[in-house]
């Protein structure tokens, strides 16, 4: 089996200096959440371990994950990962096309069987034999099964591959299915629409450095990035605890930057690293820009609308009905029923009391007789 050069060798060949290499190692270590004392092992890993080849598949998606990935905050990380990570097959980024591209994929799969990392972007349509997404005449599921068989690790990029995202929104016309439901290997879910670039590079770095998949939570997401809610690390959290909320998009409180909870912000129910790493080189994230989180990395976020209200519409009662409206109606109905019942009871009261008096009188009479 042919070995790829190590990351350091590849960088050296491309003219990067040793200093730049060490710089990259520090960035990578920080991204993967490794403490300073662990940088040595990162350097060692990148010096000695050969780079795993990568196959990047695209199915039902919008390529926003790729777009996000190539905008990593630290250009050197993205550069190096893209330059020297052996991206053998990626429809969007590769130079090859047509049969040439298919050959690249086939070569990688045979030459590096059991070694390549499989990155999947997009969901897989399962309805009608997967006719809704085909590449080179083959269905997405067909390609996925073949490439997944000999992959060393599988990463599902973005919400499409992790939980179906918009394609699987009700009524899910193509039966768009996330990757982890189709392959029987462990899949690293990196949800988000798109996922944060630094989270993506962080996950890849983890695999490169440690040679194994990161610790995952119950939904298959790396704990280091999806362990906390957007809410828990949000810089507006103090306003939440103080009970200071934005009431309308154009009010004084919105200008002052109060908590967006009442505007439907999904921060409290969304697990992601947005408020820590932020986006676009750490510039901002939705809440910082004055808009609530829409929970794009959560299951079913598309159907949990409207985005600007905290409770979802209650199914079967029309678009504007929340559980609270239905609950209030049921509560009022119960109170009204109780009131009506009390009225009729009181109308019948006289008769009941009369009967009871008879009862007592009878008892008294009986007692008297004895």
């Amino acid at each position: 089996m042919e070995k790829m050069p190590s990351l350091w060798q590849a960088m050296e060949q491309k003219g990067y200096s040793r200093r730049e290499f060490l710089q990259f190692c520090s960035f990578a270590a920080a991204l993967a959440g490794i403490e300073a004392s662990g940088i040595g092992s990162v350097v060692e890993a990148f010096e000695t371990k050969h780079r795993p080849p990568v196959v990047w598949l695209h199915f039902q998606e919008c390529t926003c994950c790729s777009e996000s990935f190539i905008r990593s905050s630290h250009p050197i990380v993205a550069d190096v990962l893209l330059d020297t990570l052996s991206l053998d097959y990626s429809e969007t980024l590769q130079a090859a096309a047509g049969h040439q591209a298919e050959k690249c994929l086939r070569d990688t799969m045979t030459k590096y069987a059991g070694e390549y990392i499989l990155l999947v972007e997009g969901s897989v349509p399962m309805l009608d034999d997967g006719i809704y997404c085909t590449i080179g005449g083959r269905s997405a599921n067909d390609i996925l099964q073949e490439t997944a068989k000999d992959a060393a690790a599988i990463i599902a990029w973005g919400s499409c591959a992790s939980n179906g995202c918009i394609q699987s929104a009700d009524p899910n016309p193509t039966n768009a299915t996330p990757i982890h439901k189709l392959v029987d290997k462990p899949v690293i879910n990196v949800p988000g629409c798109p996922p944060i670039a630094d989270v993506m590079t962080g996950v890849v770095t983890h695999i490169l450095v440690f040679g194994r998949i990161p610790e995952l939570d119950s939904q298959g997401r790396p704990k280091e990035f999806y362990g906390r809610r957007v809410h828990d690390t949000c810089y507006r959290r103090p306003y939440y605890d103080a009970g200071m909320f934005v009431e309308a998009w154009d009010d004084e409180k919105a200008r002052k930057g109060f908590c967006l909870y009442k505007m439907g912000c999904r921060g409290p129910v969304t697990y992601n690293a947005c408020s820590v790493t932020r986006w676009n080189e750490g510039t901002s994230y939705p809440i910082q820009s004055g808009h609530g989180c829409i929970g794009c990395s959560e299951n079913n976020f598309w159907d949990n609308g409207p985005f600007y209200r905290h409770l979802a519409s209650f199914p079967g009662f029309g678009i504007e009905s929340t559980a609270d409206r239905v609950g209030t109606a049921v509560g009022i109905a119960a109170a009204a029923g109780v009131a009506a019942h009390a009225i009729t009871t009181n109308i019948r009261k006289r008769k009941l009391i009369d009967e009871t008096m008879d009862e007592s009188a009878e008892a008294k009479r009986k007692g008297g007789d004895a």
């Binding site: 129910v269 697990y271 959560e298 079913n300 409770l311 559980a323 109170a335």
Partner: protein, 240 residues
């Protein structure tokens, strides 16, 4: 004048033991607090602010109250389940499940009296009537559901053992959003239950005339001596 033994008056029966009454009132207070704070957490009121965020913490206190009350509610519920096996026959677990034909018959009798407002025939069981028992049995499932979903939501901000036990429900239900939604929906169950429950206590107090309302304070209920004598003759109130 007749002696007390000869008068077919009322005899008092100790129905609700102290643990049952304690459970009831702790539960009542918890449910009111949980529903009120829960509703506030769902849609917080706009409090006029002239202060900085660090100077107030009312929403934090509302949430803290909700969480503390939830723990009390949960353990109180567990105690009641235990008492269902240790308590007297009015508190026993089988009072909540219609296990016999007589209980099923009583369910229809109570429906007749409560909904059609017809005259009560005979006497209802001195403890929970069969329909009330069944409804309370269903509320236990709602208690359980609220405990599971509540602790599951809480587990993400807690490292303690108990909430962690329930974290599995989040992926099952498809994320925190869905769990939160259903946790909220069932809050309304308690509101509606409280309205109907309180009313029916008053109604049955009146219809049965056996001290239903005060029984949950003192534990005593009252039954006519002649009814009791007849029941003892048939061994009725034991075996039903």
């Amino acid at each position: 004048m007749a002696t007390a033994a000869e008068t077919p008056g009322y005899r008092r029966i100790y129905v609700w033991e102290f643990p049952v009454r304690l459970y009831h009132w702790v539960n009542a207070i918890c449910v009111v607090l949980l529903a009120a704070t829960g509703f506030l957490i769902g849609s917080p009121i706009a409090i006029v602010h002239s202060t900085e965020a660090y100077q107030q913490y009312w929403f934090g206190i509302v949430r803290f109250t909700h969480f503390v009350t939830a723990f009390i509610f949960f353990f109180n519920f567990l105690v009641r389940i235990y008492w269902g096996f240790a308590g007297n026959r009015y508190a026993r677990w089988d009072r909540f499940i219609p296990t016999s034909g007589a209980k099923v018959k009583e369910i229809f009798e109570v429906l007749r009296v409560d909904i059609l407002q017809m005259k009560l025939k005979g006497r209802l069981w001195i403890g929970h009537n069969a329909l009330a028992g069944l409804i309370y049995f269903l509320t236990f499932f709602v208690f359980l559901f609220q405990s599971i979903t509540g602790f599951a939501l809480y587990s993400s901000m807690s490292s303690s053992f108990l909430p962690g036990l329930f974290a599995w429900i989040v992926p099952v239900m498809g994320g925190d959003f869905a769990v939160r939604q259903w946790h909220h929906v069932f809050m309304w169950f308690f509101v509606v239950f409280a309205i109907i429950h309180v009313y029916l206590v008053f109604y049955h107090d009146y219809v049965e005339g056996r001290g239903t309302t005060s029984s949950m304070v003192g534990g005593w209920k009252f039954e006519r001596r002649d009814v009791l004598d007849e029941r003892v003759g048939h061994n009725d109130h034991r075996d039903r």
